[in-house]
């Protein structure tokens, strides 16, 4: 494609044309979306292949439910929910995200200028949390993984680890304190 990529305001119109069967418009739209979807997926997933899987999953989903788009409404919110759902599914499959966590923003605004993305944005929240948990002492890490990520009950974890419920509560409390300091506090408070 040699023509200049369409700007975002044109995406809704292109999708409406695609719904009517205009294959050229559809191709133009999907091609224009590609860099944005790649950038979004790569912000949240480490591997390039994993990110590309999500991009393709988003494209397939968009294709399958393209009849649900209403041209009278903005295109981006429609696309962003599809992208978010596919990314969350991918993260869950890879066990990088607790099942309950869904706060994954779709901020196209930060994509246009790569220099605007600071290192914290490039390393997603999920990745930071995963690393922080990995750095915990073995006992604390195990407690957090079983209680908070796998959402097992205190009794179940007690049976698995052989630790008493009281000891588990203390260990988890300490682990969460460390994690909180690592993620939100200044580095000096981390340990």
């Amino acid at each position: 494609m040699t023509a200049a990529p369409p700007d975002r305001e044109a995406w809704g119109g292109l999708m409406a044309a695609a719904q009517a069967g205009d294959q050229a418009c559809y191709r133009q739209l999907l091609t224009a979306l590609l860099p944005y979807l790649r950038s979004y997926a790569r912000r949240h997933l480490r591997g390039g292949d994993a990110a590309e899987d999500v991009v393709q999953d988003v494209l397939l989903t968009l294709h399958r439910i393209r009849h649900t788009y209403d041209p009278a409404r903005p295109f981006l919110p429609w696309l962003s929910v599809i992208a978010k759902r596919r990314l969350i599914d991918s993260l869950r499959r890879r066990n990088q995200l607790p099942v309950a966590a869904e706060d994954i923003g779709f901020d196209l605004e930060t994509f246009a200028d790569p220099a605007a993305n600071n290192p914290i944005e490039r390393n997603s929240e999920a990745e930071r949390l995963r690393q922080a948990i990995a750095e915990l002492p073995a006992g604390q890490r195990r407690a957090v993984e079983l209680l908070k990520l796998e959402e097992k009950s205190l009794k179940e974890v007690s049976a698995i680890t052989g630790m008493s419920v009281g000891a588990l509560k203390t260990t988890t409390h300490r682990a969460l304190k460390v994690l909180r300091a690592k993620l939100f506090g200044p580095e000096g408070e981390a340990r």
């Binding site: 069967g21 393709q56 494209l59 929910v81």
Partner: protein, 222 residues
């Protein structure tokens, strides 16, 4: 179906080349109202078949009974409208409130009924019994109607299948319970809470199963 890295361009070419015209969905509110009209017609027919209780007017003249009936109906209507909105990617999850608020009022009303029974009957308010008809009717109406909803809400598969189908199931339960009030025999509020609650759980479980089916169908075809 996923391709190696950087082959998304090939996928785009394939999708564009195979893109046929699609018929846009009608607005969700219109689709919800059409489904509501159909579901209400089915419930009304079944009520007619069971026969309306003769003292219905007197019963609905009681403010708490009327409130409970209106709350169950509002839950049904609100949940159906919510389900059709939640099934679309660009609609707010807050549509669920349209069902959850009347559902809370419904529950509160039944709870107040229990308290009123205790005040009037003492411990007899908790006497055990089996208003099996309530359970059977709500499940017999709610489950098939929820399954039919699945067809109309299938596009929710890759987006919010669980929330959508649980709302659809809640809607069908609410409408069924509202229909039930026209002919079911009197029983204590406590028994109503137990048996209606059990039926609601069965229908909601059916909704969750339907959501799992939608997710599976989507995963297979993706």
């Amino acid at each position: 179906m996923t391709m190696p890295r950087d082959r998304s361009e090939d996928l785009i070419a394939a999708l564009a080349a195979g893109a046929r015209p699609v018929r846009r969905l009608w607005p969700p509110m219109l689709r919800a109202l059409l489904w509501l009209a159909l579901a209400l017609a089915v419930v009304s027919l079944s009520v007619y078949a069971h026969g309306v209780r003769p003292d219905l007017a007197a019963r609905l003249a009681e403010p708490r009974e009327l409130f409970e009936w209106l709350a169950s109906l509002a839950t049904g209507v609100g949940a159906v409208i919510a389900a059709f909105h939640l099934s679309l990617p660009d609609r707010s999850p807050r549509w669920a409130l349209l069902a959850l608020v009347p559902a809370a009022a419904w529950l509160a009303s039944v709870g107040l009924g229990c308290l009123a029974d205790v005040a009037a009957m003492g411990s007899a308010a908790f006497a055990w019994g089996e208003p099996w008809l309530c359970f059977r009717y709500i499940t017999e109406m709610g489950v098939p109607l929820t399954v039919v909803s699945l067809v109309m809400l299938r596009h929710a598969g890759p987006i919010r299948p669980l929330r959508t189908m649980v709302m659809a199931a809640l809607g069908m339960s609410g409408l069924s319970a509202a229909g039930l009030a026209f002919f079911h025999p009197d029983h204590t509020a406590w028994l109503g809470l137990i048996w209606h609650g059990a039926a609601l759980l069965v229908v909601l479980a059916c909704g969750a199963l339907a959501a799992a089916a939608l997710r599976l169908i989507y995963a297979r075809r993706a």
